[in-house]
């Protein structure tokens, strides 16, 4: 009887010791996406009410989380290029030979009319500094066992006061994220799927983003091709290259 009780206590304490915290879960998500460089070819489908679907094809070159360069492959947007350096984002229009630094309230606009805002792209790497992270519970989502992690803002300078993530327990890939305002109003929903494996790491190749402040809109991003840890052109992350 005594041995059984001790066994139960040991099991209980060891489960406390070895279970993951919210932050640990997200760090595992990050390590899953850990690469020095990445080159992605993507298709972005923009859905607006009573409008035909707009399809844009783009290619991005990324170094870590701070540097990124994007070109469009579809004819209509070939003149547009983006450059992200740290917390700054420039856009270049080759037709007008003009560059613009996106700042202030413009960051809240959707990229190319999509439901993905510029600040969504810029804020991606700052969650640990800006949020307290807590494991809420475990749940099944789309047939997958998931950790439900809740991020609550600890600073005022955030786009979303609270974020709720469903993280696949096996592959540590976020499958769903809900983003809320401080009033509790749901602002955005992100759903990911179609997992593919690169160097043994799982990567969601299809994401659907819907801005809940707009009726009947959504943006679907599909990764058509991905290469990781490949050498990149040295000057690709420069204003000169952007404006060539």
């Amino acid at each position: 009887m005594m041995k059984e009780k001790m066994g139960i206590c040991l099991l209980f304490f060891s489960s406390l010791f070895f279970s993951l915290t919210g932050e640990e879960i997200l760090r595992k998500v990050d390590s899953n996406l850990n690469f020095t460089t990445a080159v992605l070819t993507m298709r972005m489908e923009i859905y607006l009410p009573n409008q035909p679907v707009r399809v844009k094809r783009l290619k991005s070159w990324t170094e870590g989380s701070a540097r990124s360069y994007v070109e469009f492959l579809n004819k209509e947007d070939k003149h547009t290029r983006y450059l992200k350096l740290g917390k700054q984002m420039w856009v270049y229009d080759a037709e007008e030979n003009n560059t613009f630094l996106i700042s202030g309230h413009l960051l809240k606009q959707g990229m190319m009319g999509s439901d993905i805002s510029y600040e969504d792209a810029l804020e991606a790497d700052e969650i640990y500094e800006k949020y307290t992270i807590k494991l809420d519970q475990e749940e099944t989502y789309e047939g997958r066992a998931c950790y439900v992690v809740i991020l609550t803002a600890k600073v005022k300078e955030v786009s979303y006061y609270q974020r709720k993530m469903w993280v696949d327990k096996e592959y540590f890939v976020p499958l769903r994220e809900e983003r809320y305002a401080s009033s509790g109003k749901l602002l955005k929903v992100l759903e990911s799927g179609d997992l593919k494996f690169f160097d043994g790491k799982a990567y969601a190749t299809r994401s659907v983003v819907s801005d809940k402040l707009k009726a009947g809109t959504k943006t679907v991003v599909i990764i058509e091709d991905a290469s990781f840890d490949v050498p990149l052109q040295k000057d690709i992350f420069t204003r000169r290259y952007l404006e060539r």
């Binding site: 009410p49 209509e76 856009v91 229009d93 007008e96 613009f100």
Partner: protein, 424 residues
């Protein structure tokens, strides 16, 4: 009838001070009603004029989805081949005899950034010539010049001419000759970063325009926003704006005759909502206010008539015993009250109109009150005088006086002759 009228007139003169009090009370009320009505009518006319020429037109032809989201001015929902739509409408003589102007417009909200300053602004692309009759910005130029309709080149860079509001120029520290860039999301959902050259600064006296607006040619707007020739609105101005709902319905019916135009809607300025819709609702409240003010003024007639009835009880008894019927007594006293109210109404309306005349010519300057407001209202508001309002106010005064006289008159009519004579 005539003898009763003569009696009423004579009775009114029996106590001149009391009669004067009644006349003054009604007169003051009617004077207030006339002045207030002049202000409200002037305000409504001003707001309606500014709203229609600057914003809604008398009628707008738009795409259905654009109308549903009109507050955000989405650039994706366009009237394509607008020149064909215009030509189609102009081919109908029944339409052209009602219309004074048809023009195209594109509107796009932007965040202007210049020299570290930010300003939420509205860009309007319009026909440079036709907008001289609508926005009338050519007359409001205080620095530089109006648009020439040409695109300029500077160091191989294209510069499109714009004129900006004076207050906006001050906020952004923009001067004539400066150029700025905008990041625009076009109808193709692509990003475009055109350059604009400030060729002129305007000051209209309307905060809504001076603080928020920059204006460019319609062809430039179509090009920078990649509309493929489409526009968000075809604006129509009519000879008589009151006919707008009827003409809009006719236009919409006509557009449905052609399949390629069937997706369009014709919306009159009243259906557009916004300030104009608010005004429509406010007007009914103001009408009630006029009645209440008049009632308050005429209330004194009830008091005075009651006093008269009580004072002249014996006289009423004698009149009844002499054969005057109930309805004749009722009529006599009501007539007295109505005459007092009528004289007061006429006096009040005349004095009120005399006050309104200089206010209609010179107006009052509300610029300090309107400083931080974006109403489609000129800073100087002029009163409006109309024959309809004058006659209507007079009629209101007389009617209310008659009604207020009824209560004491009924009291007099119901008196029994014997009881009345005995009350000394």
């Amino acid at each position: 009838m005539l003898p009763l009228l003569k009696m009423a007139l004579r009775n009114i003169q029996r106590n001149r001070r009391r009669s004067l009090l009644a006349i003054l009370s009604v007169g003051l009320s009617l004077m207030m009603v006339v002045v207030l009505q002049g202000l409200v009518d002037g305000l409504v006319e001003n707001i309606m004029k500014n709203s229609t020429k600057n914003d809604t037109g008398h009628i707008r032809i738009v795409e259905e989805e654009y109308f549903k989201n009109i507050s955000t001015m989405p650039i994706q929902y366009l009237v394509y081949n607008p020149e064909e739509v215009v030509a189609f409408l102009e081919s109908d003589p029944k339409m052209t005899e009602k219309i004074t102007l048809i023009t195209e417009r594109i509107k796009f909200p932007v965040l202007l950034q210049y020299k570290g300053n930010n300003k939420a602004a509205l860009g309007i692309g319009g026909d440079v010539e036709k907008e001289k009759s609508l926005l009338m910005l050519d007359r409001a130029i205080v620095e530089g010049r109006y648009l020439s309709g040409r695109v300029q080149q500077q160091n191989e860079k294209k510069l499109r001419e714009v004129i900006v509001g004076k207050k906006m120029a001050e906020t952004l520290e923009l001067k004539v000759g400066d150029s700025f860039s905008l990041m625009l999301s076009g109808a193709d959902l692509g990003i475009h970063i055109p350059r604009f050259l400030v060729v002129g600064i305007f000051e209209t006296g309307l905060n809504m325009l001076d603080e928020n607006l920059f204006f460019l040619g319609i062809d430039d707007a179509k090009e920078v926003l990649k509309t493929s020739g489409g526009v968000q609105e075809i604006l129509i101005m009519l000879k008589r704006y009151q006919e707008a709902p009827y003409v809009a319905a006719s236009i919409e019916k006509k557009l449905k005759e052609r399949e390629e135009f069937a997706y369009l809607r014709a919306v009159d300025w009243k259906s557009a909502g916004g300030f104009v819709g608010m005004l429509e609702q406010a007007m009914s409240i103001y009408s009630l206010l006029y009645v209440v003010i008049t009632l308050l003024g005429a209330f004194i007639i009830t008091n005075i008539m009651m006093m008269i009835v009580l004072e002249r009880r014996r006289e009423i008894g004698i009149l009844k015993s002499m054969g005057l019927k109930k309805r004749e007594i009722l009529f006599l006293f009501t007539l007295e009250g109505t005459i007092l109210g009528g004289i007061g109404s006429v006096a009040g309306v005349v004095v009120g109109t005399l006050i309104n005349i200089p206010l209609a010519i010179y107006g009052l300057d509300f610029s300090s009150s309107l400083q931080n407001m974006n109403f489609p209202m000129d800073n100087v508001v002029k009163w409006m005088i109309s024959a309809g309002s004058i006659v209507g106010s007079m009629f209101l005064g007389i009617m209310v006086s008659a009604i207020m006289s009824l209560i004491p008159s009924r009291h007099a009519a119901k008196m029994k002759a014997v009881d009345a004579i005995r009350s000394i």
